[in-house]
Amino acid sequence: MMPIDRRSFLQIAGAVPLGFGLRGSGSLVPGGDDRVLLVVELVGGNDGLNTVIPVDDERYAKLRPKLAVVRKGAHALGDGTALHPALHRLAGHVAAGRGAVVHGVGYPRPDRSHFRSRDIWHTADPSHTRVQTGTTGWLGRSADQLSGKTAGFPAAAVGALEVPLALRARRANVPSLRRVEDFQWLQARASEPIVAADPMRAVVAATSPQARDDLRTFVGETGSAAVGLADDLAATLARYRPRAVYPETQLGRDLQLAARLCIAGFGARLLHTGFPGFDTHARQLPAHAGLLAQLDEALDALLQDLVAHGAADRVTVLVHSEFGRRVAENASQGTDHGAAAPVFAWLGSIRGGPHGPVPDLGRLDDGDLIASCDFRSVYADVLRWLELDATSVLGGDFGSAGLVAASVR
């Protein structure tokens, strides 16, 4: 189908009068070529060592007598490490060159507090101590670079109740999208959305022309933007048909919503979603296997969907956690908070396969893996791929993790 531009589409669909709800110049072409980054955060501290297993290292089984059982059925990556058995679909994507694993990612002076370490990954600032009014996230700062260039919403949180710190911006308006239904503007009787011609629309910004202050103007503008958001989403949804079967899990739903936004060209170029549950202090084997199985199924559906829609080149998915876990297992068949851990990247222009040295179990920092890659170099790679100013977003030049192939546009 010939791609049509968004304005024409909406005029044809009669969804919205021209000009209403459209903000700035649009790059909302169905199948258009704007690059999108989706960050999937595994919340709780994913046990990297049992996700990307150093199968050739004898010390691994010595330090994890019970937990090392996952070596059986693990999927070799070719460098002496292997993916947890539950990740069989994702292993297939890695083998096909669509997935990359960066070993040992972390930051100096690791913090083992969930809150602080998550905040550090979100702000891209290892010296961060407390969230304050002006604190912004790395994706939020990226959104600020984009706002004005992209129509509507440069970034969105998917599946979250509150917008995570990573997406906190100075200027850009970042919505949190949980369910598709939340973002229709509903009528007070029927369950249908409020249509274009409805006089309700004039109400949302109806304030006196001599409004005393900008508070009422702000509220009116927010209302208008809200109605515009609902329109954009309705148009977006109309354009998307899934080309993969997503599991009926929260993660499955969140990733499908993310796919809809990527594929149907909602305009958001920075997406973030969280997948909780990884704080496996006790009885890790079944819990971790369950989580990784969910990740495998849902992420595989997302990747398939993106590939089938021809969007594989313009979407990069980054998967990370706030820290890994201690090398030695604890007395409850689990693991405690650790430090360095692997990061995964999929699609886009990533260079597939494993990156970086296999974690050295002989050289530990107080029982924890030492990072061989600063997470900001991974961020820098994807920011450059997004054609953003990485140095400005990250507050410095952190080099490259070699994750992204030189881009040909």
Binding site: N173, D182, D198, A226
Partner: protein, 442 residues
């Protein structure tokens, strides 16, 4: 005391009408029905404010029994629903507004505490002491098990002191940034060593307490935490810090220095009793000024609970709590120790949609119900104009700009032309009224 806190008196230019009462019930509680608001108008300012102030200290033992039942379940949802239920009780309005204020001020989250009973008990402490002397409230909060866990003081020992508690005590709870030194924090942390928790209760561990000499704010002694608290509430910065926060909550998001000085002075002059300060503040010209009126953005709780009361709707507290959480205000789980930033931060486009859809859901009976249906609210009103005016009285105290009234009339006329039944037309009109910019403001 300067002019600002002089009592407001009604004049023909500045009458004590539904707008004034609407402002009072929104700020000093979570809204009220039209009938209650009209009753308060008839009382006049002095009696109306006195009535509201009395709700800061409701009596009765029914509360204690209810609390026992809540604690027995040890479930966060139930604790939260209980708090929402309390916030809907007319006889506790100011108490609950104050507890909301203290919850945001001493922001503690169950995400880390992981103990619904402890959270329920912390809220009960705010209920009991929130309108009393700040010294007493602060002393109780510093022994509160949820708080000690939240700020890691339950692991603060002489050998391994933890400064988190002392830092937040000074920075966020009493003085504000820049009004203490790093040395004060370090020394204060030593004073609070051994302030731990055992079996869900405060337990002082003498053998873990640092018994040495400390110097805090220039005072040197082998002091404990109690002395630090005495020293900190006596500092003038403490009065100003609290005054600023109270003004932000009850009057205007950006208080002026003269306002802060006036309230700080009233606070010190009244034994640091919050209830006494509020009795003065809520009666004052400042409170009823144009500057204060509709100067704040409604929080999710303001919007959800205020709408339920204005419409006379019935809805399960759990549902209302869920609605508030989806809009970003999850009671008992503030996003950080700074609480909720609020004001414009509440209003993203996505949040606006959630707020609008919440009202639509109520009117459509998708969430809760109106009994009888919405048409009953307009019984006997035959013209579109009359119905529109009634809608604005119900939801906006009749105070809307002409452009807004005109927009509502167009909605109502469209409903008539479409031959809508009375309930549908009434619901559409009320929903439209709630979509006016003014409705997002407190």
């Amino acid at each position: 005391m300067n002019d600002l806190l002089v009592p407001y008196e009604a004049t023909s230019d500045d009458p004590f009408d539904l707008r004034k009462v609407g402002h009072l019930v929104r700020r000093a509680g979570f809204g009220a029905s039209l009938r209650t608001r009209r009753d308060l108008v008839r009382k006049g300012p002095a009696a109306a404010v006195a009535h509201v102030v009395a709700t800061a200290t409701p009596g009765g033992d029914a509360e204690a029994e209810h609390l026992e039942a809540v604690l027995a379940f040890d479930d966060l949802q139930r604790v939260r629903s209980h708090r929402v239920w309390l916030a809907l009780q007319d006889d506790r309005s100011l108490q609950q507004r104050l507890t909301g204020f203290w919850h945001g001020h001493f922001a503690t989250s169950n995400r880390k505490v992981e103990d619904p009973r402890a959270m329920a008990l912390q809220m009960a402490t705010f209920d009991r002491l929130g309108a009393g002397a700040f010294d007493e409230l602060l002393a109780a909060v510093c022994r509160d098990p949820a708080m000690l866990r939240w700020l890691d003081n339950d692991t603060n020992t002489a050998r391994h002191p933890n400064e988190n508690f002392a830092r937040e005590l000074f920075e966020l709870f009493t003085l504000g940034r820049g009004n203490y030194g790093e040395q004060d924090i370090r020394e204060a942390a030593r004073c609070f060593t051994g302030w731990h928790v055992r079996d869900g209760r405060f337990h002082f561990q003498p053998h873990l307490h640092d018994t040495g000499t400390k110097t805090v704010f220039g005072a040197t002694a082998a002091m404990g935490g109690e002395r630090v608290l005495e020293l900190v509430v006596a500092r003038p910065e403490s009065a100003r810090f609290l005054a600023t926060k109270l003004l932000r909550c009850f009057v205007h998001p950006e208080p002026e220095p003269a306002e802060v000085e006036a309230v700080a002075a009233a606070y010190e002059a009244n034994g640091r009793r919050i209830g006494a300060v509020l009795a003065i503040l809520l009666r004052s010209r400042l409170f009823f000024s144009r500057r204060a009126y509709r100067s704040k953005v409604k929080s999710p709780a303001d919007l959800v609970l205020g709408t339920v009361r204005a419409l006379g709707a019935f809805a399960a507290p759990t549902e209302l709590a869920a609605a508030m959480a989806s809009m970003g205000e999850s009671w008992l789980e503030p996003p950080s120790v700074e609480g909720w930033h609020g004001e414009r931060a509440w209003l993203s486009p996505a949040a606006w949609l959630l707020r609008s859809n919440f009202v639509a859901d109520l009117l459509a009976r998708r969430r809760g119900k109106l009994r009888p249906g919405p048409a009953a609210l307009f019984a006997g009103l035959d013209t579109v104009r009359d119905r529109c005016r009634a809608a604005t009285l119900l939801l906006l105290d009749g105070d809307v700009p002409p452009a807004a009234l005109a927009a509502l009339e167009r909605v109502a006329n469209a409903q008539e032309r479409a031959g809508a039944d009375p309930d549908t037309a009434a619901a559409a009109l009320l929903h439209a009224t709630s979509c006016l910019p003014e409705y997002q403001l407190s």
